[in-house]
Symmetry: C2
Subunit: 325 residues, 2 copies
């Protein structure tokens, strides 16, 4: 197991780039993107050769009040269509559905009536059976599906293998390795990728990778896992995403050798829309407090609070994180 696939100069036709800017980035601004922003990002992604664009969550309107969030927390069919029409492009549309936080039996049309192409089911490892039930439902409706097992850096390897084998018996298309806490180093990210790819390949499944940038390794881990056979790569414009953010799309498109990927339009989008977002006070990206939680393999919520409060007492914060009961 585990030699590198392809070379640094070759094109791998299995590679798919998935833009998570609105979905993971939405966690930075409560999903309150202007229609112009989302519409221009859609056009930019199409021009850049991006393969999938994730529009947000399909969150339960019974559990979350619509008025508390921007519309991309819910991704109603009519809201997506207001941006993409019937999506005449080659780019596919994805949404995310969290186990336990969506009404999947009522909120999804059959694929034949929807502009959505792919549903990504996010779960923790103990929710795999619930995720499988959802995956099979979405598969029957006609959607492509992924399973994104989160917080994998806190899961033992036996449990990971068990989860991968369970998923391999389902109709899921893509199994995602998700470094929720940004705590993986290239060395263990690529070892995990090999484990995922080994099991997935035996069952005709594909593997994806979703990085977080807590230790400034999101891009590095993405191209390392890619080199060991991961095919679906999540990225966001300027790495916009929760806390330290994700793999930056511009770095990833710069790396990929397939001439279908093109960075120019993305740069124009960054100039016009991303700089304004930052100026308006939306915060994300590598910062020392996120390094701490990544290093300690913890959820970044304490670091997000520290950054939001514009605190700089790094040494005190670090001491506090090392406290144990």
């Amino acid at each position: 197991m585990g030699s590198r696939k392809g070379t640094l100069l070759s094109v791998r036709s299995d590679i798919k780039v998935l833009d998570v800017t609105i979905r993971d980035g939405g966690l930075c601004n409560n999903f309150e993107f202007s229609d112009e922003f989302v519409s221009e990002l859609y056009k930019t992604n199409v021009q850049s050769g991006v393969d999938y664009m994730e529009f947000g969550y399909k969150a339960s309107r019974n559990m979350f009040k619509e008025s508390d969030f921007g519309k991309w927390k819910f991704c109603k069919e009519e809201d997506i269509r207001a941006i993409v029409g019937d999506n005449p492009s080659n780019m596919k549309i994805a949404v995310m559905a969290d186990v336990g936080r969506c009404d999947y039996k009522t909120d999804f049309l059959p694929k034949s009536e929807s502009v959505i192409d792919m549903v990504r089911v996010a779960c923790y490892v103990h929710q795999i059976p619930a995720a499988i039930e959802m995956i099979e439902h979405f598969h029957e409706l006609g959607y492509e599906t992924t399973c994104n097992i989160m917080a994998i850096s806190q899961v033992g390897s036996e449990q990971i293998i068990q989860a991968l084998e369970m998923l391999s018996e389902t109709n899921v298309d893509v199994i995602y390795l998700v470094d929720s806490f940004g705590s993986l180093y290239p060395e263990n990210a690529s070892e995990l990728a090999k484990t995922y790819v080994d099991i997935a390949e035996k069952h005709g499944k594909i593997v994806g990778f979703h990085a977080h940038n807590n230790q400034n390794l999101a891009f590095a881990n993405t191209i390392e896992t890619l080199s060991y056979g991961v095919s679906y790569l999540d990225a966001s414009v300027q790495g916009m995403g929760r806390g330290a953010g994700n793999c930056a799309m511009e770095l990833l498109l710069g790396f990929l050798k397939n001439p279908k990927y093109n960075m120019y339009h993305l740069l124009v989008f960054i100039e016009k829309y991303m700089l304004a977002l930052k100026e308006n006070g939306v915060i994300w990206g590598y910062d020392i407090p996120y390094m701490f939680t990544g290093l300690l393999n913890q959820h970044p919520r304490s670091a997000m609070e520290f950054v939001a409060n514009n605190e700089h007492s790094y040494s005190e914060f670090y001491k506090k994180l090392l406290d144990h009961d």
Copy 2:
């Protein structure tokens, strides 16, 4: 050749951490650090377990006017002693000497009379013979020596091997792999590291790595090359260094498992001194224009100018960089 040395949890006793904040960071502020800054950094490095601290360049006072630069461009013996006294710590003191830009025959005392422990000779590959002459001179004076072959990403592999073999026949202690343009990916950085380590080990030499962060890979490349047997690791506080900067010391100390390394004092230093530096307008660190020059394997000077001018027309800048004659 080329298996990983050690594991992610083990201590490698060959590892040495070298702080380049004043030397490479000095390229961001014309070496104009306050004495308090340098003195506190010295104490912080000692407390953090850092193995070497580089104080700056030993530049020729015949070629460069002293009044045009801060004192760490010249690293006079009395200036270093004003900070460290006789350096009663276990940490060693390094300075850099550029081939062709220093008066090495007149500006260095015998080691027995100097507080400097190590001279790092920086050269381009075509200057290897000149570097060797300097190395042998410094060796005779009693110093530890390194040879830092710069801009290696523009050198063919046959020439690299020839340079490594020439250096292996000398009295140099450490041979540095230097990613001057930040254009290496972990995959080719580690391949180069294997080549360096293979040749160096045969001759009892040690290998070091100096990263630049143009593609946000400085830390990733440092720990990847380390895992393949590189021992001397350059880093700077918050990655301070020319353009996109270097590997961040806090990330590196967080990664290393040897209990002699301790991040706490470094965090206090960052709070007190680094934030003020940034507030005063000193600029470094990953930014999109540096990604372009890294990607295109070019010197970052055009990107440095773009950033210094506070420009944001990324798409136009990128188009210009792709121009050829």
